[in-house]
Structure formats: structure tokens, C-alpha cells
């Protein structure tokens, strides 16, 4: 009885908190986006500046996520398959973007590639433009989302150990063969999970991009920056309309993430069943399930 009350109480608290902090902002965005009718909504999201911002945002996301995925795979491989001096230092350095304010992230790129930055003479000699153009936005986004993929992969690779890879290597398999045949199947869900998180963050990055963007309308305004622009133009409804597009993308990402998670967990669970089956007979699972179901009643 007391248990039931505690359970209900906790669930109510959890749901109320989630509803307040997660549900309400979503509802607010949706309500405000549509408060002046569909016409205004459609006009806002089909505005050429909005569309070009969307294009820029998508392009930035694709580039930075691809770079981070490739990097994440190599980094995770290097960090989990080999032991070398300074490995923990490297891990810590890779985590820096996680702990650094996006504003500082933007600032450092300005300090390197900006007109006053120390790389400026080289860039102007090469007639290359980094900050206040696409490369700068991409770089800032890569920085902010840098550790996402590798952070998801490293624990999984660590947990699997190196026995399988070593066995394959002893049989003479090449590095690529080992990776694609042995390693990738184990980490594919974690990889997808990391890629999704990385994309979500890349799509929505504001602070760092805001510093390096220059806010050129139709050129270097990403969608989140465009929201700010609209917000400042008395176009509150339009700002929320564009926000709602970003929100939809966010929700889609979350759904995708959940699907990946569930699929990944299922495969993980069946692996556990195999393991258990070998040790104690497959029926042990039935008892295990029984216990779990029993205790949650």
C-alpha cells in the first residue's frame, strides 16, 4: 500500500517535472507558431531567407557529422585497441569541447582565422575565407559536436574487449577487414546513436555559430540564427514558426534515436540470453523475467 503511494507519488513528480520542463516549451512553440493561422506559418517557413538558412543548416550538419563520424571511429579504434603513453590525456583533450562554453568555442576560431587572428596572413595569401563563411560555421559545429560519436563508441568497444579482433588479426585479416567484419557489427547501434546525437546537436548549435557567422542574411545565417533574427524583427510568430520546424526535426531525431536504442537493446539482450543460456540453461531467463515482472507489480 505504502509502496503504491510512493510509486504513484514518484511517477507524478517525474511526469510533472518532465511536462513542465519538456512538454510546455514544445507546446508553447507549437501554439505560438500557429497563433496567426496557417497562412503566416507557411509564409514564414517558405521565406527565401528561411529556406537558405535551412539549406545552410543541413549542409553544415552533413559535413560536420560526417567528419565527426569518421574521426570518432578512428579515435575510438585508437583509444580502445591500443595502449600508448598519454592515452588518458588524449581522452581528456577530446572532451574539452564538452566543457567549453560555445561562446569560447566561437571565440577561439576567430582568434585563429579571423582578420586579427594569427593565421590571417596565410589565409589572405591563399584567398581563403574561414570565419564569417561556411568553413567557419562548419568548424565551430565540428568543435562543439567533436566528442559525441567517439564517446558513444569507446565504452562499447571497451566492454567487448579485444579478443575477437586479436583472433582475426592472428588469422591474417587486414585492418579494414577486421573493422568491417568484426568490429562494426558490434558497434553499429552505438555508432548510429552517436551520429544521431551529433546531428541533433549540430542542427541546433547557436552560441558558437553565432560568434563566427556574421549574420549575413541568406548567406551565413543558420536556422537557429534565423530564429533570433526573426525574433528581433517583431516577427514573433514567424520566429516560432521557424522554431517549430527545428522542433519537428528535433522530435524526429528523438524518435529515430528511440528506435535505434530499442533495436540496439534488443540485440544486446539477445546476446545476454545467449550468454546466460550457455551458463545456466536457457530457462534461467524465464526465472529472471519472472523475478523482474514480479517485483514491478
Amino acid at each position: 500500500m505504502v509502496d503504491k503511494i510512493v510509486k504513484c507519488f514518484l511517477i507524478v513528480i517525474a511526469c510533472a517535472f518532465a511536462l513542465l520542463m519538456l512538454g510546455l516549451p514544445l507546446a508553447a512553440v507549437a501554439t505560438y507558431a500557429l497563433r496567426e493561422g496557417y497562412g503566416v506559418f507557411i509564409a514564414a517557413i517558405t521565406d527565401p531567407y528561411a529556406l537558405s538558412a535551412l539549406r545552410l543548416t543541413l549542409l553544415t550538419t552533413v559535413i560536420s557529422v560526417s567528419v565527426n563520424t569518421v574521426f570518432g571511429l578512428f579515435a575510438a579504434w585508437a583509444l580502445t585497441r591500443f595502449s600508448f603513453k598519454g592515452r588518458s590525456l588524449l581522452t581528456t583533450v577530446m572532451d574539452i569541447p564538452f566543457a567549453v562554453s560555445p561562446v569560447i568555442a566561437g571565440l577561439v576560431f576567430i582568434l585563429v582565422f579571423g582578420r586579427i587572428g594569427w593565421a590571417a596572413p596565410v589565409l589572405s595569401f591563399l584567398n581563403l575565407k574561414i570565419v564569417f563563411a561556411l568553413p567557419g560555421i562548419v568548424l565551430a559545429t565540428i568543435f562543439v559536436t567533436f566528442p559525441f560519436v567517439s564517446r558513444e563508441l569507446i565504452p562499447v568497444l571497451n566492454a567487448r574487449g579485444v579478443a575477437e579482433e586479436e583472433a582475426a588479426a592472428l588469422m591474417g585479416a587486414s585492418g579494414w577487414k577486421i573493422f568491417f567484419r568484426i568490429t562494426l557489427p558490434h558497434i553499429k547501434w552505438a555508432l548510429m546513436y552517436g551520429v544521431i546525437l551529433c546531428s541533433a546537436r549540430a542542427l541546433g548549435e547557436f552560441g558558437a555559430v553565432s560568434v563566427v557567422s556574421g549574420h549575413l542574411r541568406g548567406k551565413t545565417n543558420t536556422l537557429p540564427l534565423h530564429v533570433e533574427v526573426l525574433f528581433g524583427e517583431f516577427h514573433l510568430t514567424a520566429a516560432f514558426a521557424v522554431s517549430s520546424i527545428l522542433m519537428l526535426i528535433a522530435i524526429l531525431t528523438l524518435i529515430l534515436k528511440t528506435v535505434v536504442e530499442v533495436k540496439g537493446k534488443k540485440e544486446g539482450a539477445s546476446a545476454i540470453v545467449e550468454l546466460k543460456g550457455k551458463n545456466e540453461g536457457a530457462n534461467a531467463i524465464v526465472e529472471l523475467n519472472g523475478i523482474k515482472e514480479g517485483s514491478s507489480v
Binding site: 534461467a284 523475478i291 514480479g294
Partner: protein, 354 residues
Amino acid sequence: MSDHVRLEGINKTFGGFKASDGVSFSIKEGDLAGLLGPSGSGKTTILRMIAGLERPDSGDIYIADKRVNDIPAGKRGIGFVFQNYALFRYMTVGDNIAFGLEIQKKSKAFIKERVERLTKITGLDGLLSRFPEELSGGQKQRVAFARAIAPEPRLLLLDEPFAAIDAKVRKELRTWLRNTISELGITCVFVTHDQEEAVEVADNIIVTNRGKVEQSGPPSAVYQNPATPFAAEFIGQSEVITEYERLRGFPKISGFQSAVIRPEFIEIRKVGREERPNASQSGVAENIYFRGDRLEIDLLIAGMRVTAKYSMDAESLSPGETVSVVVNRLLLLGEKTVTAQENSLLNDANPIYI
């Protein structure tokens, strides 16, 4: 002595899975009882219901003649040793053992003394300030045991107590556990899927299958006179044969479609060395395995392949050799009954129905 634990008509389902199906049995005070059955037979569920970790759907559980269905687990005065010990990782060995005593609000001095005494009994001296992850499997087992008996329960439950321990330590722990429990004089129920373990440790075993109690009694009785076809097949090194009438001395008895044969039922002799030629028939020793104290033989007899033993002291056999075989006994299996059938050519004794 009176019954300490009594279960009456217990039913329990998990989803669609019937874990307990009309389970009734009792355990005498001071008994060491083993719940024996294959995995998934519902033995752990029974143990957890006695402990109060699960509630039966119907039926009554009595401990010391008091119905305990509605008494929460912590108030039943039961010690429980979990299969994976469930030691508290963030407490030292000493804190683990003292946990139950602290809850009973015993004095510091009392707790200290009791913990020290328990560490002596369990041979954990010097390990009190260690954390569980710094212990070996056997040591963890002892800590779990000490923790469970620290509050002086009158009933101790153990879930697969030796499953996670390697074979060599297991033997030693079994003997130790048996002696310690009998010294403490408490009633004890343990769950196992290992019949050797059950037979060796328990005063009484309760054989379970598919949520039902098949048979209970002292190990020797269950072994020699199994009450149900399942008990007959499950206990011992049992093999089921269908055409038992092809063995000499075993006419077909209607209602008994098959029989259980165990190695100790079969007597093998070299050809020409038969003691009772009238009951003998020939067989082939196909493979011979060395088992340390004896030889184990894959025997082909009347077209059936069975396992037999052969003494190391007897004249040696070679693989493929034709031998003379006498089958002394069979356990004939009926629909729901079992009967021990002696070889009719050996004496005139009538079959004994159990």
C-alpha cells in the same frame, strides 16, 4: 519435531507462465532441505515466496505455524543468501555483516561482538575492512552467509548457493556449510539444480518440475524409490529405454511403456565368467571410458545403447568386445507411476509397487 515451514496449495503465475502449481510441502524444524529441479522448474519462486519476496496468487505459507502471507519479508525473521550474493558493494565486509543488526538497533558493543564471532565461524578473520570486490568467490559466499545469519534467523534460505563457485572450492564449502548449519541448529532450505549437491547436503530433498512438487523425502528414498516418472528420470544417471521387454527377465507389463535404467542396475562380465547364465544375455562394449575409480562403458544390448560401469579391479575389457550382461533391476514408468522391477529370472520375488 514439528513443521517449521509449511506450504499449502500455493499457486503463482508470471504473465502466462505458471511458476507454482498447487505446491504443498512441509519442512521440519532443524531440517536441511534441498529444493531440487531443473532450471525453470519453479524452485526459486518457491524459495522467494517463503522469503516474502514474491506473493503467492493463492495458497498459504506457514512459518512456525503462523500464516505469514501478509507479513513483509523483513519481518519474517528469515535469513536469505542470494545466488550472486547481492553484497552491498559500497560497504565493507564488516558493514555488510552488521547491516541487519544495525536495523534491529542493537548496541554497538553487541554488534561488534557478534560480527567478530561470525567472522570466526565463517573464517573471514582479517577481511572485515575489505570491500566485496576484493574478495574471492568463496569468500563472498561466506560474507553473504554471515550477513544472512547475523540477525540470528530461525530459518535460512539459500538460492543456488554454490552455483557461482568453482568445482574445487564448492566441495569444501558444501561440507563447511553443512557442518555450520547443523552446529547453529537452524532450519535451512536451499535451491539447487545439481542433484549431487542436493543428495550430499540435504536431509530431505523436494523434487520440483513445471511448478509442481514431484516428490519429497530423504535423498536415499527418493533415489531408490522415485515416486514419479520425472523423479525417476531426473535423479541418478538415468536413461530411458522403450523396448525393455527385449532385456532378459523383464516381460512386458501393460501400462508401463518405458523404463529407466541406471548404470548400477547393469552387471557386466567377461564371456565365460557368468555367475547367473540363465539371466545373462550378450552385449557389446562399444566404448570404454576411464573415470578414475571405475570404467564407464557404452554398452549395446538388444539393439539399445545404455551406459554401464565396470570395476577397475576386474579383468580388463577391450573396445568392441562381446560381453555377458545381467540387468538386475529396472524402474518401469507408467503414466504417472513408477515401479521397481527386479529381474524375474534371478528370483521369484514379486514386483514391489510404490
